[in-house]
Amino acid sequence: MAKVPVQFTLNGSEKAEFIDSGTTLLHALRDKIGDTSPKGGCHQGTCGACSVIIDGELRLSCLTLAETCNGAAITTTSGLSEGGVLHPLQHAFLDTFATQCGFCTPGMIMAAKVLLNHTPNPSRDDVVEALSGNVCRCTGYEPIIQAVLRAARANSQNAA
């Protein structure tokens, strides 16, 4: 099978791989590069567990072909904490007990991260909209919504 090269930055570090053409970014990240933080919950684009940030935009890595990401800057949940220090969003998820099984969590955090990048002081409706492509089956969503609002408050307090 013909291999094609892909090269992008993942959480700030350069990655270059030869992959099968047609490989999804989700598979490339998980199976080739070893970043298993994006989860494969449906491979249909209906659950959001595979969400990653590509050049600042939230994307579904299960529906994105890796070779279309050449030159892109990709962020995943595994790259969010720096130097072992949790990102405020990660802290907020802990504080509000927003994780149960944890399978949807990385995707939720990605969706929330993009929201806060663009809308540092979101309303509840903004948060609901931002999370609307991500499915959680355990929590009933409320603790996750609270986590994002809490992280936003923490950010604005830090900024002030």
Binding site: D31, K39, L86, L89, Q100, G102, P106, R137, C138
Partner: protein, 455 residues
């Protein structure tokens, strides 16, 4: 959430160090950093991907299976059919002596539901396995199917499962699990009103965000490690051991970190065939349900039909309750015979009723086998019971909440299945709900207690 410590304070110790404390969860940091290792996060060099060829028919005889084209497909390593499975007919609850074995691991001669596993294809890539699966030719003779429980129970209905010989599970008590308490007919005769109503549910999927699956790796010493999201490690290991006719000491199961279960990951479906694949090829094997498989192939919560006949007095006392419950097991038993009889033990609900008659049936139809789910054997019964309670209250012109107080069980009350009530707290829950929802009830009900002196 609020803890109402005023209730039951006399029987509770609130001075513990760790119990009752809102400690942070030790697993959450792994979740928020994406570091938690779920089974599918394990990747092995040379891992094969298993895809299942499934029945397109609800009920059909298999005339022939031709895998020759699929075997030649590039990337295909192994194709498994029924003849390759050492003990192909099994049932999960055989471990607790609930038989008969009634389900094929891979269909042998017949399929009994649309989506039933027929042929397993193992290939180097998912894509190659999908392509080869499309080349497996199965010649079916389509048979009449039955989907409606009432139809299935009628004489002359298509027989769903030959291992049972009839379209219901045969308990030691006969065609249903029975509970008999008091004289229900006398109760109806004495009642001021009799109300019979029928309730129905549809199958419900657990829909965990992580689909059912496993990754199996040969250890190189004739043992196989199975990374799985089963909800029951030894249940799965021991059943796999039976199906594969492989000593249990050859199997090593690693799990315990599951992306949601809700009862949906107790069916021992993916592990045996994946281990067999690893054994036959000597290579790691991954078998992970697609989302479509999770939604339509994995067992749902059974559809149930519940018929309730109640005798009630004008003063609010329920004097007789007869419940007939039907659990739609689909084509195979899985856990359904257990769920149906668990239902028999749950009726007539948290109420003290002197005359009770319960029959619960486990019925076979040509649909996806159902199994356990959160509230197994109880959830749909509670729906039926509590809507019935509302109807009864309105029938006699009584407040629905007060009506429940009148009938609520208390410590020491004998239940229909002949266990005395212990640790009751229904009354206190209703009292608190009355306050929280601003739904006032008479003072005498607010003064009630589940405690009964001497009970």
């Amino acid at each position: 959430m609020e803890l109402r410590k005023s209730y039951f304070a006399d029987v509770r110790k609130d001075d513990l160090h760790e119990i009752g404390q809102p400690r942070p969860r030790s697993d959450s940091p792994g979740h928020v950093t994406g570091k938690t290792a779920f089974f599918a996060d394990r990747n092995f060099p040379g891992m094969l991907h298993l895809k299942m060829v499934r029945s397109p028919h609800h009920h059909a005889r298999i005339r022939s299976i031709d895998t020759s084209e699929a075997e030649k497909h590039p990337g295909v390593v192994k194709i498994i059919t029924a003849k390759d499975v050492p003990h192909n007919v099994y049932t999960i609850l055989i471990l607790i002596q609930i038989g008969p074995e009634d389900e094929t691991v891979l269909a042998d001669g017949k399929v009994r539901w649309k989506g039933e596993a027929v042929v397993a294809v193992l290939a180097e890539t998912e894509r190659a396995a999908q392509e080869a699966a499309a080349k497996v030719k199965v010649d079916y003779e389509v048979l009449p199917a039955v989907f409606d429980m009432e139809e299935a129970l009628k004489p002359g209905a298509p027989l769903v499962n030959e291992f049972h010989g009839q379209n219901y599970y045969l308990y030691d008590s006969g065609e249903c699990r029975k509970v008999r308490f008091g004289d229900v007919e006398a109760g109806f005769a004495a009642a001021d009103h009799v109300l019979e109503q029928s309730y129905q549910s549809s199958p419900i999927e657990h829909a965990p965000t992580e689909t059912t699956g496993c990754v199996v790796a040969p250890e190189g010493n004739d043992r196989f490690t199975c990374y799985t999201n089963t909800q029951a490690m030894f249940f799965t290991l021991d059943n796999a051991s039976i199906i594969l006719q492989m000593p249990g000491n050859k199997l090593h199961f690693v799990g315990g970190t599951v992306g949601g279960g809700f009862g949906g990951k107790v069916d021992v479906i993916v592990e045996p065939i994946a281990i067999l694949g690893a054994k036959l090829t000597g290579r790691p094997v991954s078998f992970i349900y697609s989302r479509e498989e999770e939604m339509q192939i994995s067992s749902p919560r059974a559809a149930e039909k519940v018929v309730i006949r109640d005798g009630v007095m004008k003063d609010g006392r329920i004097v007789a309750r007869k419940v007939t419950g039907y659990t739609d097991a689909g084509a195979y038993s899985r856990h359904s015979p257990y769920g149906a009889q668990k239902g028999a033990g749950h009726y007539p609900g948290p109420y003290t009723i002197p005359n009770v008659w319960i029959d619960t049936y486990c019925v076979y139809t040509n649909r996806t086998p159902s199994s356990a789910m959160r509230g197994f054997g109880v959830t749909i019964g509670d729906f039926a019971l509590e809507v019935q309670m509302d109807k009864l209250a309105r029938l006699i012109g009584m407040d629905p909440l007060e009506f429940r107080f009148i009938n609520a069980y208390r410590d020491g009350d004998m239940k229909a299945h002949r266990q005395p009530t212990e640790g009751a707290a229904l009354i206190e829950c209703m009292q608190e709900a009355s306050r929280a929802a601003n739904w006032p009830v008479a003072e005498k009900f607010m003064a009630m207690s589940s405690y009964v002196k001497g009970a």
